[in-house]
């Protein structure tokens, strides 16, 4: 794996995979929903849709058409701090995809008609994923509002339907100019490529995109919450209650080992049938499901502050305090005596094989390598994480449990029903 930087500032990450039958190509831009302005929640995601609506030499819809007619797939996703555009294609389509990505980075075309249409499409997406289904968007669209105070961290990244309707072409053009610059992006190529040849193609298509400064990143730092914060979320479609707990995570830039210890802790608490909270709460029917994870969209997919979360669904007969109490007690036990060696070995093995399996998928590897490079300057984690996790010690897990037990947290209860 190697990184090159073009004169215009574009970072190029080359990940040669000689035995892979396919090539993954991704462009990660340093802009996510934590970058969007107040009064325009959901704008970063709406803009992501507009990136498929045509550029100087590519008509509306042609991006997908060219990639799919080359035997490949394309998609994009908006995260907290980055937006990634990704393709998985037969190796012979590399230059075609570089052309398509470069064209929209150089000169996107935004029309009022396309904007209106995509506002409607995004509204349908939000209905499908959030407002028309039980547990839609729970907890990622609502828990941040309880755990965090500042607008970038606290607001719903899918956004408000009415705020989306207010978006203008001028705002889109300004957003593009402010964030979609070569120096604000990482281009990742992962596959059976000759690095020298790939770099030649990259220079050919991206080299003449003019450099220009990007807007500064949003200020995300805020003090951790003190004590416990409570929130309620009404879900008209949900038949059963649920509860979500959110905690602040350690900054991976400051202490990656501590972050990894939290990943193992999540496994110990709820990662397999023999995990502590599963044994304790699922087996006796207190909850119907419980899960724990680092990050709303997975570990290391956001900059600091990132969220450790626990989510449980439970019957109406369960005392709503049962889940937070059980979490406290298990954290207390881990803080007092640490994990037992067998338990720790299982949790690290499970975490490591899950990552190994995940990065066997060429698209996941491409996307995560790019995200790790952009967010943390650690692209090699796609190969290193499966070996780093088994090195997490009992002491560091104990420390993580202590930290969570003594930290402030958010407790969000989902109240079912209540009419539309």
């Amino acid at each position: 794996m190697r990184t090159e930087i073009l004169d215009n500032g574009l970072r190029v990450l080359l990940d040669p995979r000689p035995n892979s039958p396919v090539t993954g190509i991704a462009v990660h831009y340093d802009v996510g929903f934590r970058s969007e302005p107040e009064g325009r929640t959901g704008f970063a995601h709406l803009f992501e849709h507009l990136m498929f609506q045509g550029s100087e030499n590519v008509a509306r819809g042609e991006h997908f058409r060219h990639v799919q007619a080359s035997g490949g797939t394309a998609n994009a996703a908006t995260h907290h701090d980055h937006t990634d555009y990704h393709q998985l294609v037969p190796p012979g389509a590399l230059e075609r995809v570089l052309f398509l990505e470069a064209d929209r980075m150089r000169a996107l075309r935004i029309s009022a008609e396309n904007l209106r249409t995509q506002v409607a499409v995004v509204q349908e997406e939000i209905r499908l994923q959030v407002t028309n289904r039980p547990y839609g968007g729970f907890p990622w669209t609502v828990l941040p509002g309880v755990l965090y105070d500042t607008f970038p961290n606290a607001h719903n990244g899918y956004g408000d339907l009415r705020e989306l309707e207010r978006a203008t072409v001028a705002e889109c053009e300004a957003f593009f100019a402010a964030h979609y610059t070569p120096a604000n992006a990482v281009l990742t190529i992962s596959g059976p490529v000759d690095p020298h040849h790939a770099l030649t193609l990259v220079h050919r298509h991206f080299g003449d995109i003019p450099a220009h400064p990007a807007a500064p990143r949003p200020r995300l730092t805020e003090p951790p919450p003190r004590g416990e914060r409570r929130g309620e979320h009404r879900d008209p479609h949900a038949p059963l209650p649920a509860v979500a707990l959110g905690y602040r995570m350690p900054d991976p830039a400051a202490d990656l080992g501590d972050y990894l210890a939290h990943m193992v802790l999540a496994r110990l608490l709820a990662g397999g049938d023999d995990a502590r909270l599963r044994r304790r709460l699922v087996h006796d029917g207190t909850v119907t499901s419980v899960r724990a994870s680092c990050g709303f969209f997975g570990p290391l997919q956001a900059r600091d502050p990132d969220t450790f979360l626990l989510v449980a669904h439970h019957p109406p007969t369960t005392d709503p305090e049962a889940v937070p109490s059980a979490v406290d007690e298990e954290l207390d036990r881990l803080a007092a005596t640490g994990p037992d060696p067998r338990e720790l070995a299982h949790a690290t093995a499970r975490a490591a094989t899950a990552l190994c399996r995940s990065y066997d998928d060429p698209l996941t590897r491409t996307r995560h390598a790019g995200a790790f490079a952009l967010l943390h300057d650690t692209p090699h984690l796609v190969t290193d994480l499966p070996t780093l996790l088994p090195q997490v010690t009992a002491e560091s897990v104990t420390h993580a449990a202590k930290a969570l037990r003594t930290a402030g947290r958010a407790v969000l209860t989902l109240i079912p029903g209540g009419g539309p």
């Binding site: 995260h79 000169a107 996107l108 997406e125 119907t288 093995a349």
Partner: protein, 529 residues
């Protein structure tokens, strides 16, 4: 943006190199179990997939769900083995079949396979475990039924196949009446290796893997004395996962996993939500693998069951012929009320062709051009030009063992009729303006590319192989189908478009807010033009 627009040309595709195909062994064990093992050593792991047909039970899908949920309940040392191996192991019910799925380190593969074999041949389904499973599954029913797509699929079955079809999900009373005795009876009298499928993919030696499976599973007898034993699954719960284009409407086991956070907001439905890429099976472009013809086509001991000493002839084991396949009836479009809904689910179906049919390749291309990928006519007309939907698809898939084309979209309540009219207009246009050479070639290239993409991970290859075997196709189909696609003529595609997509062939349901839909007209499909 550059002051002077520069015209730049789309680069040509480089000539692709031959796709490296994995070595593979395809064998039928003496007891009838088919095993396919493929070597794909990209990571030191192994993926296991298994399907075992289950006979019909009076309790409907409830009994099978409890069987699956308790399959490993008394497996000795399972927690320790799975923990050491970092393995995942689970069982569920899909399309009336028991489905087992596992992933593990390659080093632990033999032990995990032994564990699975031990459960298949000797699971005790303890009383306490069955009682726990009943409670757990019952608690999941409510959240699952509240999913609009589950509601739509359940309504679609009854609308198109009559009120007597097996329910999509068990009801609470039937589930509560399930006893451990009945679960054990179903397992040990109703479940047989005949017709069962095992797929192993990963850092393994295919011959050694098949030999190990043979040893581990040789004590599983091919007997089925279940009262109404029928090898097929046609009478059972139907195709829960495969008929559900969305991952959000998964099986009981995944009922709440689907509530995990959206992997963020995509410009198009994510792969996991796309019917074409779901774990289920669909004929629209999907990840498919292209394993090589096996270097060891048959193991020496893979003789047909009838010739195996000590085994009864297959005919003696099937006293009851399988029931006749169900066929959907033309039933028009029905509105199914979901008060408070802000979006409607449109789900329309029409009879299609089995995968083995000579016309299937042409039908696949016509379907792809209509709605099988993001460049399709339906996506452009309904989503990209009119903003009427985020997700709209045409998928070839099975429902209750019948091959159908599914048209599937979600749209806001007040635009539902407009979306249905647009779908109908595209169906008519497909016959009037059949897929062009450019459209057809794009679909062809997409299918061929998906073959390589789908096989590029161990999990992808395992899923693709299992899909094929379930359709009764051989792994070689992965190689031959793209060739067949290449030979399809524009005339054949046009004939498929005209034969299968007339609006009058479609029936289905629209699930949405009853008052919001009351004044809208959906009686469009029965009319001729």
């Amino acid at each position: 943006m550059t002051p002077v627009p520069t015209v730049r040309e789309l680069p040509a595709l480089e000539v692709g190199r031959a796709f490296p195909l994995p070595p593979l062994v395809d064998a039928v064990l003496p007891n009838g179990l088919r095993v396919v093992a493929a070597r794909a050593p990209s990571v030191p792991m192994v993926e296991l997939r298994m399907r075992v047909p289950l006979p019909e039970a009076a309790e409907g899908p409830a009994l099978a769900q409890v069987l699956a949920d308790t399959l490993f309940a008394d497996a000795e040392g399972a927690d320790d083995l799975l923990g050491r191996a970092g393995a995942t192991l689970g069982a569920g019910v899909d399309g009336g079949q028991l489905s087992v799925s596992a992933s593990m380190t390659a080093a632990a593969f033999p032990e995990v396979l032994d564990l699975v074999a031990g459960a298949l041949t000797g699971a005790a389904h303890p009383d306490a475990a069955c009682e726990h499973a009943v409670r757990r599954l019952a608690a999941q029913l409510g959240p699952l039924r509240a999913q609009p797509r589950v509601l739509a699929q359940d309504a679609l079955r009854r609308h198109c196949y009559g009120p007597d079809v097996p329910p999509l999900l068990p009801d609470e009373q039937t589930l509560a009446a399930v006893t451990a005795d009945r679960v054990r009876q179903l397992h040990h009298q109703g479940m047989s290796p005949r017709g069962a499928l095992l797929v192993l993919v990963g850092a393994l030696d295919p011959t050694a893997a098949v030999n190990h499976a043979t040893t581990a599973l040789s004590t599983w007898p091919p007997t089925a004395t279940w009262p109404c034993a029928s090898a097929g699954s046609s009478a059972s719960a139907g195709s829960l996962a495969s008929a559900q284009p969305s991952a959000s409407a998964g099986s009981l086991a995944s009922a709440q996993a689907s509530e995990s956070p959206q992997p963020s907001a995509s410009a198009q439905p994510s792969a996991s939500a796309k019917p074409s890429a779901s774990a289920g099976s669909s004929a629209s472009p999907q990840p498919l693998a292209s394993p090589q013809p096996s270097p060891h086509p048959r193991l020496p001991d893979s003789a047909p069951p009838a010739s195996s000493p000590g085994m009864a002839a297959p005919s003696a084991l099937t006293p009851t012929p399988p029931p006749p396949p169900r066929r959907m009836r033309p039933a028009g479009v029905a509105v199914v009320g979901r008060p408070g809904a802000v979006q409607s689910q449109i789900m329309l179906v029409a009879p299609a062709l089995p995968r083995a049919d000579p016309g299937f390749a042409a039908l696949s291309l016509a379907n792809c051009v209509l709605g099988g990928f993001f460049s399709s006519r339906l996506t452009v007309a309904v989503r990209e030009e009119r903003g009427l939907a985020y997700r709209i698809d045409a998928v070839l898939d099975e429902l209750l063992d019948e091959e159908l084309v599914f048209l599937d979209a979600d749209t806001r309540t007040d635009a539902t009729e407009a979306a249905v009219r647009q779908i109908r207009a595209e169906l008519l246009r497909l016959a009037e303006q059949p897929p062009s050479a450019a459209e057809t070639d794009a679909a062809r290239e997409f299918f061929t590319g998906m073959t390589a993409l789908g096989a590029a991970s161990q999990a992808g290859l395992a899923g693709a192989l299992m899909n094929l075997l379930q359709y009764g196709l051989s792994p070689d189909w992965l190689r031959t189908f793209p060739q067949r696609l290449a030979e399809v003529t524009l005339g054949e595609v046009a004939r498929a478009a005209q034969e299968f997509y007339a609006p009058s062939r479609f029936s289905g349901v629209i699930v949405g807010d009853p008052s919001g839909l009351a004044s809208q007209d959906f009686d469009l499909f029965a009319r001729r033009q």
